[in-house]
């Protein structure tokens, strides 16, 4: 027996190297395992390099762009000043509306939804595998980022944290083919699901044919998937297909956030998100 093992030592080792990961993959399916110490060490080693490279390249690009943009800066400044005035007026009126909203909520006995922390982060790199659309951000467990938390920008939702280590976290984008987000049409409150397709627009699924939805409608998160807080912008409806038969109607959703050009994001801990390490947050992506 021992001599046999000795004789076939090399093919045996190669067989183990080949079959061990295959078995791990087939047995675990698409379940993501928690990072082990080796994973953490490698991430801790590679992420600062990623961050430094990103900063260096972005710095160079910004310097060139800054020089080119300098010529139009005066006109832009005037336009921004005007826009600032308009926005200040809008903020003031929104403040009034908010105060009124709070007062009415109190009157109706509504409990204020507990807002989670908003943790800012920079995108330091993009996952090099085309199969999964994800990015790495510069905030991790030590900053309060955990798996299952949602990631947003002021324009709309970006994705969901799928793995967090010390100072970094990986975020699966809403455009990933496995991403599913419970959504609502802002105007009519009709509910459906936004599914990632891997590229370009998302697909609007599970929207009943009888529901009121039109091209140009704003799609927001419904908050029922347990991942994304309600009311966050997802995108705009295009290519609406109202079929004569069947249960559902289909449409494309142009995402509000261009996920291929992300720079800064906010990690949001909604009341629905998993806020502890080791907890699973796979509601929106299988």
């Amino acid at each position: 027996m021992l001599s046999l093992l000795k004789r076939y030592r090399r093919p045996l080792i190669v067989g183990i190297l080949l079959l061990y990961p295959l078995m791990a993959f087939l047995l675990s399916g698409r379940r993501v395992r928690d990072p082990n110490p080796l994973d953490r060490a490698v991430i801790a080693l590679s992420s600062p390099v990623q961050q430094a490279l990103t900063a260096a390249i972005e710095g160079s690009v910004a310097a060139v762009r800054g020089y080119l943009d300098l010529r139009g800066v005066r006109q832009e400044n005037d336009a921004l000043r005007l826009e600032n005035l308009q926005l200040r007026a809008a903020v003031q009126s929104l403040g009034e509306a908010r105060t009124e909203n709070e007062r009415l909520r109190k009157l109706l006995g509504y409990a204020e939804t507990a807002e989670g922390p908003e943790i800012p982060a920079r995108v330091v790199g993009v996952n090099p595998v085309a199969k999964l659309l994800s990015v790495r951000i510069s905030s991790g467990e030590k900053d309060g980022v955990f798996r299952g938390m949602s990631v947003v920008t002021p324009d709309g939702i970006v994705g969901q944290v799928i793995r967090a280590t010390g100072g970094y976290a990986d975020v699966a984008l809403v455009t990933d083919p496995q991403s599913r987000v419970a959504v609502r049409v802002q105007r009519s409150r009709a509910r459906g699901t936004a599914a990632g397709t891997g590229a370009g627009p998302l697909k609007l699924e599970n929207m009943l044919r009888t529901e009121d939805v039109e091209n140009g409608d704003l799609i927001i998160t419904a908050g029922t998937d347990g991942i994304y807080p309600p009311g966050m912008v997802v995108g705009t409806v295009t290519n609406l297909e109202k079929k004569e038969h069947g249960m559902f109607q289909g449409a494309d959703i142009v995402p509000a956030v261009d996920t291929s050009k992300l720079e800064e994001v906010l990690v949001v801990g909604s009341p629905y998100s998993a806020m502890a390490p080791g907890s699973t947050g796979e509601g929106a992506s299988k």
């Binding site: 490698v42 990623q50 490279l53 390249i57 790199g125 996952n127 891997g198």
Partner: protein, 166 residues
């Protein structure tokens, strides 16, 4: 190439690629730098050294994908073994033939990745993976052309001349 050099190179290339992809805004087109490394290993490394190196390279890719499932570790070792088999039938010496070899390896790697994804993903679309494959293969071929001199230099640096330090 020695194991640690391969791992270091894979780590550096993956990190660089991740940053370049972010800057270029490529959504589906990726450069399979790990396949280039595995293809080189298939041509030049011994069975055990190559298998261990391919395993490590695949593990790194799995880790950087954000969702380590073991798929890319398996595919790296498998691609190494198939590449090793194919290399007995073809003569790969120059940069251009190496690029073609790496592109062939990338086609196999990409198709297998799409197949296994299709096996495990119930609702997700895998067609986007295949639609991005031609661009990915071309980019990988270009990367192989660019990396070939570097890989050969690493390899040459480790070949100790006879009589050196005797």
């Amino acid at each position: 190439m020695k194991f640690l050099v391969t791992v270091g190179l894979a780590l550096a290339l993956l990190t660089l690629e991740s940053v370049v992809v972010k800057q270029a805004g490529l959504v589906l087109g990726r450069i399979d730098v790990t396949v280039v490394l595995v293809a080189f290993l298939a041509l030049r490394a011994t069975l055990l050294e190559g298998a261990f190196s391919a395993f490590a390279v695949g593990y790194l890719l799995d880790l950087m994908s954000g969702q380590p499932t073991g798929l890319f570790t398996f595919l790296a070792v498998f691609t190494f073994l198939v590449g090793r088999l194919v290399s007995t039938f073809v003569d790969v010496r120059g940069a251009m033939s190496f690029a073609l070899f790496a592109m062939g390896a990338d086609v196999g790697h990409g198709l297998l990745a799409a197949f296994f994804t299709w096996l495990t993903v119930k609702n997700g679309s895998t067609s986007s993976l295949l639609s991005g494959l031609p661009l990915q293969v071309v980019l990988t071929g270009a990367a192989a052309l660019a990396l070939f001199p570097l890989l050969r230099r690493f390899e040459a640096g480790q070949d100790r001349q006879v009589g050196l330090l005797r």
